[in-house]
């Protein structure tokens, strides 16, 4: 069945079109929607697009960084102000995928994809959603919960996050069996602010260990006030499996994911390769 394609100049109009048509899907880079169409998803009857330039803008002036939902991974890699995000953007597919895959799309890429979202979660990102005539900002963890309940209404306009205070305060690791690029067995992102040699306000996120990217709150609590050395991180490593619910799939078993999580978390926290 042929699909109707509707293109709007303004994001708000595109959001209204998506919200008023149950068969409509918003197309940004195409890596999710076109894939679903290729697989024969007959629920998609309308593709909605927008040429709104705001969707592809990157604003890095000031302490807060705003990424338009249509910003691609390649755009992030081309921006020197976003160097701290490069490790998380570089592991998204090969060059062709990175020219297409968008920040907004990654928020809807279910495991084993969506590793970039784990990075955003650790960075404390908020999501701006355009609901046609209104807009709202939502913390990313709340947004992901709503996503999995099917409660997301409107279109993601942008993602906003704070720049890490120090270049090495943000760390990211994707574990995959195929080199140099493969689907993630799991990924870990950590924002590790240090004050007086001690961690203060750590945010740690996992992908691939639960249905959606999740905060590792046990690790965060255990890191508070500790130093990033072998003894200091020991309680965090012991708490690393709190709240996870990994699955068996073609990439790895749940057992394997549980076994390697402390190994890779330790390497990440100690800054080891």
């Amino acid at each position: 069945m042929a699909i109707t394609v509707r293109t709007f100049e303004k994001l708000g109009d595109a959001a209204s079109a998506v919200m008023s048509d149950r068969g409509a899907r918003f197309l940004a880079g195409g890596t999710l929607v076109m894939r679903a169409i290729n697989e024969g998803d007959v629920a998609i009857t309308t593709i909605v697009r927008t040429s709104d330039p705001a969707l592809t803008q990157i604003r890095t002036a000031g302490a807060r960084i705003e990424l338009g939902a249509g910003v691609t991974m390649a755009q992030i890699l081309a921006n020197r102000d976003l160097a701290f995000l490069h490790p998380a953007a570089r592991i998204v597919g090969g060059p062709a995928v990175r020219n297409m895959a968008t920040v907004g799309g990654n928020l809807f890429a279910h495991a084993p994809y969506g590793d970039f979202t784990a990075a955003l979660l650790a960075l404390g990102a908020t999501v701006s959603v355009s609901g046609g005539y209104s807009a709202s900002d939502t913390p990313l963890d709340e947004f992901l919960s709503a996503r999995d309940r099917g409660g997301t209404r409107g279109l993601v306009a942008s993602v906003t996050l704070a720049r890490p205070a120090a270049p090495d305060a943000f760390r990211f690791r994707k574990v995959s069996r195929v080199k140099p690029k493969g689907i993630a067995v799991l990924s870990i992102a950590a924002l590790l602010p240090v004050a007086g040699g001690r961690i203060a306000g750590a945010r740690v996120a996992y992908n691939g260990l639960s249905p959606a990217p999740m905060r590792a709150r046990g690790v965060e609590r255990a890191l508070e006030g500790r130093s990033l050395d072998e003894a200091g991180i020991a309680p965090a490593i012991a708490a690393c499996a709190e709240g996870i619910s990994p699955s068996d799939d073609a990439i790895a078993s749940a057992w394997y994911r549980r076994e390697i999580l402390p190994v890779h978390l330790k390497r990440l926290l100690l800054g080891q390769a």
Partner: protein
């Protein structure tokens, strides 16, 4: 359901083709224009055999909505040759036995072309990264990497 006319540049020539709503670029190239160089592999963005260059940058044509290339330039492996003369990458792939079944070759060539157009003297690591989204099930990748490095050397020699 009505079709939509899409005009774009295809391997240096202006073309117009009518597409169904939701049609992807790969099928538009293959069935609408008869350019069967880009192949249909996974349809999911995993294998890279459908890689084409859009405005000089690699994209997966199976995941590209055909209408989005209106007014843009699309290059495929079919446009690499110049009359009877093969592109240096194609010569190098032959010389280094970089194709066995050949199914991945059009995508590999375009991924490699995107790299060499931007970075004429890549390192081995950069070549590996450039083709990291393209799967080959025959060669084990080494001949392909060697061919791309050799083509880079050839291009460099020709400039000198």
């Amino acid at each position: 359901m009505s079709k939509t006319a899409v005009q774009f540049r295809h391997n240096g020539s202006d073309v117009a083709v009518f597409v169904d709503g939701g049609a992807n670029l790969l099928m538009t190239l293959r069935e609408g224009l008869g350019d069967t160089a880009p192949k249909y592999g996974c349809g999911q963005g995993t294998c890279g055999v459908c890689t084409v260059l859009i405005d000089g940058e690699p994209h997966l044509s199976c995941l590209t909505l055909a209408e989005t290339v209106a007014g843009r330039s699309v290059e495929t492996a079919d446009g690499l040759k110049n009359g009877p003369d093969l592109h240096p990458l194609q010569d190098a792939f032959m010389d280094h036995f970089a194709a066995q079944c050949g199914f991945c070759t059009p995508g590999m060539l375009m991924a490699a072309k995107a790299l060499l157009d931007r970075n004429p003297q890549p390192t081995r690591e950069e070549v590996v990264e450039a083709i990291s989204g393209n799967i080959c099930r025959c060669t084990g990748y080494e001949p392909i990497i060697n061919a791309i490095l050799a083509a880079a050397g050839t291009r460099g020699a020709r400039r000198a």
